[in-house]
């Protein structure tokens, strides 16, 4: 590890205590916010349909009179919802990863790797297939919320199963965790396969969407459907950050420091399940964001969750917004599924993390 305890790059405004990385962290958080703004502007400006940057800016800050009707539709109904959805999904995937890593006390935990996404996917697919059959009544009742709610249930089930299998006496063996994730994923994929087998052609096309991951389906309606679930996780950040820091010492030690560890676990498990379920419901499975973003940020600002979680949210949002923009322009006019791009970036980082832990014991 080339981590520097004193993080020498922070501006020197007042005498600072060695080892206190909070000022560095604040600089990183501010930088992440700027990064997100820049990414958002870049994303709005890119796309297959050419809109002049000047008229877009005028439209964004003014009344939009400088924009043709077609361009106005592209901006308000295509690019903006896609931008907002990308930012929300990126933020919750990254925060979910960071929170799971804190809960399982392991930097390799990630909703995609340990089967939470698979659990959400199977439930989402079931919702699509059964929503027109056995559960039609329920689907009509829940409306737009049916899919995210179903995915939430699937993610929650996977999360609870995982915790029950991999954690003994407050200690989580990462080997057991990853293997349990493998088992959960395999089981979930089998059920998903079964659903696909039973699906008709239209359902099949809907289902294919989940397995690749895309932000292409973004609409304001879908955003409002997943927003409550996403808000649940983001609202949990101030509630769990301090407790997750104490948990770094161990479960008993966290209790000694006054943390209600059982409550902490419940909040993280439900929050992560809700947000991952929502993300899967609206964008399919997009992997590795939860591994890459917290890991890189820890290198820069240290692992303290009170600063790490907000920075993770901002950087995760920026990362996915940029990745989505790349997906749209790399192979234009076609579109690269975003899950492929994040896996291309994320898998090598994961391997590096694994190698780093060599000798530390799994």
């Amino acid at each position: 590890m080339s981590l520097s305890g004193s993080a020498p790059h922070a501006p020197r405004l007042a005498p600072r205590r060695a080892g206190d990385r909070r000022r560095t962290a604040r600089v990183v958080i501010a930088g992440s916010a700027l990064l997100l703004v820049a990414a958002a502007l870049a994303a709005v400006l890119t796309g297959p349909s050419n809109i002049a940057a000047a008229s877009l800016f005028a439209a964004l800050v003014g009344d939009g009179s400088g924009l043709s009707a077609r361009d106005a539709i592209v901006l308000h109904d295509v690019r903006l919802p896609r931008l907002v959805l990308g930012a929300l999904v990126g933020a919750v995937l990254a925060v979910s990863g960071a929170m799971m890593q804190g809960l399982f006390r392991n930097p390799l935990a990630d909703p995609g790797l340990v089967g939470v996404t698979a659990g959400a996917t199977v439930a989402a697919v079931a919702a699509i297939v059964l929503g027109e059959g056995a559960l039609a009544g329920l689907a009509a009742l829940a409306g737009l919320y049916f899919l995210p709610a179903g995915a939430f249930v699937g993610a929650l089930g996977a999360m609870i199963l995982l915790y029950a299998i991999a954690t003994r006496g407050g200690r989580t063996s990462i080997a057991t965790l990853l293997l349990a994730g493998l088992a959960v994923t395999a089981a979930a994929n089998a059920v998903t396969g079964l659903m696909i087998f039973a699906a008709d052609d239209q359902q099949l096309r809907d289902v294919t969407f989940w397995t690749l991951g895309s932000l292409g389906g973004a609409t304001w309606g879908r955003i409002s459907a997943v927003l409550p679930f996403i808000a649940l996780l983001l609202a949990a950040i101030p509630l769990v950050a301090r407790g997750l820091d104490a948990l770094v010492l161990g479960e008993a030690e966290a209790v000694h420091l006054g943390t209600d560890v059982e409550r902490l676990k419940r909040i993280v498990i439900v929050g992560v399940a809700a947000a991952c379920g929502a993300a899967v419901a609206v964008a399919g499975s997009i992997g590795f964001v939860g591994i890459v973003v917290p890991h890189l940020l820890r290198l820069v600002m240290g692992p303290s969750n009170r600063q790490l979680l907000p920075a993770t949210a901002l950087c995760g949002a920026a990362l996915l917004v940029v990745a989505d923009a790349l997906c749209r322009i790399l192979v234009a006019p076609a579109e690269l599924p975003i899950g492929i791009l994040t896996a291309l970036i994320g898998a090598p980082v994961f391997v590096v993390l694994l190698l780093r832990r060599h000798g530390g014991g799994l």
């Binding site: 305890g5 080892g19 206190d20 820091d245 770094v248 000694h256 420091l257 006054g258």
Partner: protein, 276 residues
């Protein structure tokens, strides 16, 4: 203060702690000694509230531990565990600040009303100096040696309960507790003595210390009361001179003739070579 009555802790049919009653009084250092597997750490964890007894009960000022929240307990007692491995590379400063932060948030009220406590930064620097690591805040904890890590953890615990006495809601003084589970195991002889001297000074300030220690000489020097545990039950209990006797040591550890006496006040000492 803390009071354990008829404590039993059983795993399946095996009783690790078997009908032990032990109370710890404010202002004193109580040290639990005994052979491996005697149930020392289990007893400490029962009294600290980590484990729920199979039968019997532990009370703090008359209230059952099970009815106190982690936050309420954190304001009254700190626990130094045997060894702490971090999941993520915190700096020494960040580790100690966890203790300072917990002590500040969970405490009822500091004694000596009106007088503001030290700032968090000062408190962290103070406790690091007290464990002989002044200015070590910037070091990464995982890169320290085992003994240094142990001293950082002691600093964290001291930061949590730095004042040995706090005030209750009605203004009455509430002594705090310090649990030390084999605090000296990875320390050199100098830091073993420093750590226990600091703990005793804390107790003299009005707090109560309960420690599990293997080294009988350290126990003899620093304990006001020694509890000799063997097979889950108390084999002997009392001041060092009365408990660390040839008879008790022979019975519990199976080594005869190794206890000597210093000149008055007749502190016992252990000389293992004397058995030869």
């Amino acid at each position: 203060m803390i009071d354990g009555r008829d404590l039993v802790f059983a795993v399946r049919d095996r009783r690790l702690v078997d009908r032990v009653s032990l109370a710890v009084a404010a202002g004193t250092v109580t040290i639990v000694v005994g052979p491996n597997g005697a149930g020392k750490s289990t007893l400490l964890r029962l009294l600290a509230g980590d484990l729920a007894p199979t039968s019997g009960r532990v009370t703090l000022d008359g209230t059952d531990l099970a009815r106190l929240s982690p936050s309420q307990l954190a304001g009254r007692r700190a626990v130094l565990p045997q060894q702490v491995a971090l999941a993520f590379p915190f700096t020494v400063d960040e580790v100690v600040r966890l203790g300072a932060d917990a002590g500040r948030r969970h405490v009822l009220r500091r004694s000596g009303a009106g007088e503001p406590g030290p700032s968090e930064a000062d408190l962290v620097e103070t406790v690091l100096a007290e464990v002989g690591l002044p200015g070590w805040g910037g070091r990464l904890y995982p890169q320290l040696s085992g003994g240094e890590q142990q001293r950082v953890q002691f600093a964290r615990v001291l930061a949590q309960v730095h004042d040995p006495v706090v005030e209750g809601p009605d203004g009455s003084p509430l002594p705090r507790l310090l649990f030390l589970d084999e605090p000296t195991a990875s320390l050199d002889i100098r830091h073993q003595i420093d750590l226990l001297a600091r703990a005793r000074r804390w107790a003299r300030g009005g707090g109560a210390v309960l420690a599990v220690i293997h080294d009988l000489n350290l126990a003899a020097e620093f304990a006001d009361r020694i509890v000799v545990l063997s097979g889950g039950t108390i084999a002997a209990e009392g001041p060092p001179a009365a408990t660390l006797t040839d008879a008790v040591v022979a019975r519990v550890f199976g080594l005869s003739g190794i206890v000597g006496r210093l000149p008055p006040p007749h502190l016992p000492y252990i000389l293992p070579q004397a058995r030869l």
